[in-house]
């Protein structure tokens, strides 16, 4: 073996080692949520083409829907989204409002909603939709403890997602987590607006997202805020209303008075 080929082999081995090494560096093609802490824990963001689960208590439906809509918005920015839900989920938690979706910065034009009669047909529809590679993501919303959504069912969804590259998001309201093949599992509840009195304005949607399972890393818990205009999550801001950016060359005196003005 001559020197040049040895050198090539060595460099290739090096790059393979770098790919395989469990490093904290960002993984390729991960989708960043925008929340720095969570992104660091997830090594760059959510993995596409796998299954992610979001759980919430029965009265936290609003916050959980917002969170999963945010995830779907991050994952499939410009591609169609299929949202599979059960018939009675409208009555329990209300129907998905298109105006509300638009207010979150997502595009109602890209949404196809499927109302399934029961869990079985919902699962089958979701698996079908996951096989269609023109979609960005598929959301499956299941209300209550569903016996059918076991390890086998989640394995099927994961395989379908891997084959087509479409991400599966499962929203479980009023359910307790059971073993599954999900890449990540979140428990979501609503979070307070930043402190203030009753009349002070409320800010962007906020959720307390707890990462209870992460196949390839540690878990954590964060308060996340959804930035409707940028269509991404972020750290919670201290002020409910957007604050004018500080000019780069601001006189010292003006900076000292800035906080005073905001509090008034």
């Amino acid at each position: 073996m001559n020197g040049a080929r040895t050198g090539t082999l060595a460099s290739l081995r090096g790059s393979i080692a770098r790919i395989e090494a469990p490093s904290d560096a960002a993984m390729p093609n991960r989708i960043a949520l925008g929340h720095a802490g969570a992104d660091a824990m997830l090594r760059g963001g959510l993995a596409p083409a796998v299954l992610h689960e979001v759980f919430a208590a029965s009265h936290q439906g609003g916050a959980a829907t917002g969170f999963i809509a945010g995830l779907a918005g991050r994952i499939s920015a410009r591609k169609p989204l299929v949202w599979v839900r059960q018939d009675f989920s409208d009555r329990e938690n209300g129907a998905l409002s298109m105006r509300g979706l638009a207010e979150l910065g997502l595009d109602p034009r890209l949404l196809v909603t499927v109302r399934a009669a029961d869990v079985d047909s919902g699962l089958r529809t979701a698996a079908d939709a996951l096989a269609c590679d023109a979609l960005g993501a598929v959301v499956l919303e299941i209300w209550g403890q569903a016996r059918q959504l076991d390890l086998v069912a989640s394995r099927k969804l994961t395989l379908a997602a891997q084959a087509s590259g479409v991400t599966a998001l499962v929203l479980r309201i009023a359910a307790t987590p059971i073993p599954s093949t999900a890449e990540t599992r979140w428990i979501v509840r609503a979070a307070h607006s930043p402190p203030g009195n009753a009349a002070s304005p409320w800010g962007a949607p906020r959720v307390e997202a707890e990462l209870v399972r992460n196949r390839h890393g540690p878990v954590g818990r964060w308060i996340m805020e959804w930035k409707c205009d940028e269509c991404q999550f972020s750290e919670p801001s201290a002020y409910p209303q957007p604050v004018a950016a500080t000019p780069a060359h601001r006189p010292h005196q003006a900076q000292a008075r800035a906080g005073h003005r905001l509090a008034s």
Partner: protein, 489 residues
Amino acid sequence: MVAKDHNAILLHAVDEAAVRAGLSIGLPLANARAICPELTVYDADPAADLKTLNDIADWCDRFTPLVALDAPYGLFLDITGCAHLFGGERALLQIVTNALSRRGFAVSAAIAGTSIAARTLTRHVSGKIVVDGTEAQAVGPLPVSALGADSAVTTGLRRAGLKTIGDVAARAPHEISARFGAAFTALLSHALGQGDAPISPRKPLPDYIVEKRFPEPIATDTVIALTLSSLAKMLVAAMDKQGKGARQLEASFFRTDGAVRAIMVETGRPVTRPEMIDRLFRERLDALNDPLDPGFGFDLIRLAAGRTEIVVQQQRDLDTTVHDNDEISALIDRIAARIGGKRVVVHLPLESHIPERAALALPAQHHLAAASAAAWPERVTGEPPLRPLRLFERPEPIKVPFASVPDGPPHQFTWRRALHAVVRVEGPERIAMEWWKQDGAALTRDYFRVEDAEGQRFWIFRDGLYENELRDEEGKSVPANWYVHGLFA
């Protein structure tokens, strides 16, 4: 068989033995009993008769797609161009008559150039085939009652001494019209083979039909699936010649015992690939509530394209959006074939400021293109969401103990048996109902966006304004009703 007509119980149908005993249709039951005391009587059931006639018509679909009902006892089959498939007109007539007699029906059939002529012949004798142009000779000797005109007309003709159709035809048409009306003249000329009344087939004629007959009935799923896919290939080949694609497909399964099952599939855009048709039918057959029952087997399977459209060929390889749109409409078709087209929806904006009427959900198969081009209201940059993400179809009532000021927001409320303390309020946003559409029924709503102690955000409203709407007849104020209408993220 008896039926009640104008408070009298009359004979509705009689069998041969009764005819021999001297009974006839239309005789009162009391008279009939006097003639023949041992008469067995059943109630007539016209609905069941019609259903039986429809079932027979279904069975007749195997001979021609143009089958029309001639209630209460007749069927018209337009066999133009079909007879040679069954070995000629006589053979076809034999097949139909034999098959129906075997099942216990009394059959009288005839073939003629016009439907009325054929019907007139069946009233008199069965199995007659009239060559084109000789209808007048064939129906001439028959009695006028065979025409099937009103009983008043028939009696009138008999009284005038015109006993046979030939007698009536010999008179000048204007004499007959003046006496019995133009409708009867038209009927007469149709019976004589001059001009034809169009029959009204039960089903619209499909654009394309392919079918497969089996000498031995088939019953296994694999053979049925194979047959369907080979029929799909034939159908696509036929449509492809004219550049068409199917929007609506129907597979009919003809069972040996005469039952017919038709299964329909609709698609969002014209289908041009046999494997797609095959897959749609497989989804549909899997999802049937009452599965396809082969019984003793099917002897004919037919695939018809009910509605077709011209396919615009698009450049597929380079334009990825065309490919993606195709994929998505194919997916929607598949899901719709299994769970129903109304369950797969896209959303279109409506011009209404009333929250529950601001969007419309329509079947995705037909409105996908409209939905992807819809113009939704722009959100206000920098504002938190003004509308909830989840909206209840019917606002849910909540209990509000008191409000500090009459028009103000509540301090706490009870929703679904849980007490929520309000810590943050935005509002009110006043939304007046569409008073120009309905008169005074709906009250003006004051909406508040509220956040409770846990951080959950609700969209609640008070139904009615204190100063002028929430008053009873005497002008006293009544307590307002509060509702939660949505949940914010």
